[in-house]
């Protein structure tokens, strides 16, 4: 069975918010009506977003890392928001595993948002219904679009390709491979929600620098007989190379 999902690579996310704005642009222009914006240019702007990018600082100065953390509906395989809905407006599609809200059935009671541990459902305060990431369901199955554009808006917008999209139940898909080979993990496993979206951890980038790397061994401007005295007199990089 298909389970569409996003895999987000925290190692390359630069926190540019391109996914946030492209998500807002696509989903505010859809047939379901605009996503609310109140006082967008005022002192206390607020509005509905399906996707947010947050920033965390990990570690203690000076050994800190900045982690940009995009956050949207995880399309859980066991979504706690679905059984609590009294009207059946909140549902999980059998054919592709996307968790959706039927805006015509939603009574705006907010109970599903209470049941979601991730806080990724936002009540649209203009339409008075619960809204959330749809994985751009009105786009990914649209046969009139070229195949390469049948992806969620956020995935297409990401300049660093930090967002992968695909079927996590297909072991040969790019997302499954990424999860398998790069330590993909789910958020809050203790909540038992089995999120379909996964995150790829940050990786340690190591660079071994030898003393002679700091000296220009092959200076294109060199003049024979006028070479500077090398600061380093040991072996060169070739002696260390593996």
């Amino acid at each position: 069975m298909t389970q569409l999902a996003l895999v987000i690579d925290l190692n390359v996310c630069v926190g540019c918010h391109a996914c946030v704005t492209s998500c807002k642009e696509w989903n505010t222009s859809g047939s379901a009506g605009p996503l609310a914006d109140f006082s967008p240019y005022g002192a206390d702007p607020t509005g509905t977003f399906f996707n947010r990018v947050q920033t965390f600082e990990v570690g203690e100065y000076p050994d800190t890392q900045t982690v940009h953390f995009p956050k949207s509906c995880l399309h859980c395989e066991d979504p706690p928001c679905v059984p609590v809905c009294p009207t059946g407006a909140s549902y999980k599609r059998a054919e592709d595993g996307i968790v959706l809200v039927d805006y015509d059935k939603c009574i705006g009671c907010k109970y599903c948002a209470w049941a979601c541990p991730y806080g990724v459902r936002e009540l649209d305060e203009a339409r008075k219904v619960m809204t959330k990431c749809t994985l751009c369901v009105d786009r990914i199955h649209d046969q009139s679009l070229p195949e390469r554009d049948r992806k969620p808006s956020c995935v297409l917008a990401c300049p660093t390709e930090a967002r992968l999209f695909g079927d996590v139940h297909d072991p040969d898909s790019a997302v499954s491979k990424a999860i398998r080979e790069r330590g993909g993990y789910a958020l809050m496993p203790e909540q038992g929600t089995r999120p379909a979206n996964h995150y790829l951890p940050r990786r340690k980038t190591e660079l071994t620098l030898h003393a002679d790397d700091l000296v220009r061994a092959a200076n294109p401007l060199r003049v024979d007989g006028m070479e500077p005295v090398p600061a380093y007199a040991g072996g060169t990089a070739e002696d260390h190379s593996t």
Binding site: D44, Q54, F56, V84, C109, L187
Partner: protein, 310 residues
């Protein structure tokens, strides 16, 4: 969680209405068993109407919580999985039973015991539904305990029985004394279970941490941006905004107003109508504060993602 006033009113008003009916029906059963003098049927009719007014007011209050109250009827659809849906079904059924029982007393039909028994079962089922709406949410660990429905049941019964005593005293019924004694007992028992839930919640240690929330296993993580500079649904719906000092004041306030003061008035108020009405009013105000604290006390895991602005 941010306490919604509509839900505070809903749960306290229908709780008092259910408790009032259960007290009246208990009085009817006790009269059948010749434990107390049989009251006039007008006593039951008046009490039934009072309970209907309370539950009706609760129902009206609940619609203010909805974004689309005109679609409220749809909420009866998912009773197989949703406690909220079950409550939406049981509340009108209870009101219908209450109406039928009051009408049977008014018109002198004989079947009040059967109607009352069925309505009493619905009243208890409604307490369970209301409590389980909160109790079934495992992620809100302050609520996910059998104490939640037990407290809804006991607090509603205490409030309703106290109202029955006040009502009986106002209309001059001899049932005022046994109702007041029952209300005192229920208030004391409810205080014990509510304090038990306070103690339990104080000892809770969070299972979900910022480490599991973002999947970074480092003891020191500090949020530097929540992704926007204004507010959002997430920052409004899940935070109560009260300082720890204010929370403490409200906790002591509801313990005094919902339990201590009514219990003292019941024990030493000489059973006068004025003392009983005052006890009910003070306890109702205390229960509103208790319900506010119940919501504010629940710490939603999503709040881990909203620790710093900008």
């Amino acid at each position: 969680m941010h306490p919604a006033f509509s839900v505070l009113l809903l749960t306290t008003l229908i709780g008092a209405g259910q408790g009032l009916f259960l007290a009246l029906f208990a009085a009817e059963v006790a009269a059948h068993a010749r434990l107390v003098a049989t009251p006039a049927s007008s006593f039951f009719v008046g009490g039934g109407v009072l309970a209907l007014v309370l539950t009706g007011a609760g129902l009206v209050a609940s619609t203010f919580h909805l974004g689309h109250p005109e679609r409220g009827w749809r909420a009866a659809a998912r009773w197989r999985t949703s406690w909220l849906s079950r409550e939406v079904i049981v509340l009108p059924l209870f009101m219908a039973g209450l109406f039928a029982w009051s009408l049977a007393h008014y018109a002198g039909f004989g079947a009040t015991a059967v109607l009352g028994g069925a309505t009493a079962l619905l009243a208890i089922a409604l307490f369970v539904c209301t409590g389980m709406i909160y109790g079934c949410l495992r992620l809100l660990r302050e609520w996910a305990t059998p104490l939640t429905p037990i407290n809804y049941l006991l607090l509603g019964c205490a409030s309703g029985t106290l109202l029955a005593a006040a009502y009986a005293a106002v209309v001059g019924s001899p049932l005022a004394a046994p109702c007041a004694a029952s209300a005192l007992l229920l208030t004391v028992v409810a205080a014990v279970t509510r304090i038990a839930s306070l103690a339990r919640n104080r000892a809770l240690r969070p299972k979900t941490t910022l480490q599991t929330a973002i999947g970074v296993q480092h003891p020191r993580i500090r949020q530097t941006s929540q992704g926007f500079m204004g507010g959002s649904f997430n920052t409004r719906e899940f935070f109560h905004g009260a300082t720890p000092g204010r929370m403490k004041a409200i906790r002591w306030g509801f313990l005094l107003a919902a339990f201590v003061v009514p219990a003292l008035l019941l024990a030493f108020g000489s059973g006068s109508a004025a003392a009983l009405v005052a006890a009910f009013v003070v306890q109702y105000a205390g229960l509103l504060a208790e319900r506010w604290y119940f919501f504010a006390d629940a710490n939603h895991p999503q709040n881990l993602y909203y620790q710093a602005m900008s």
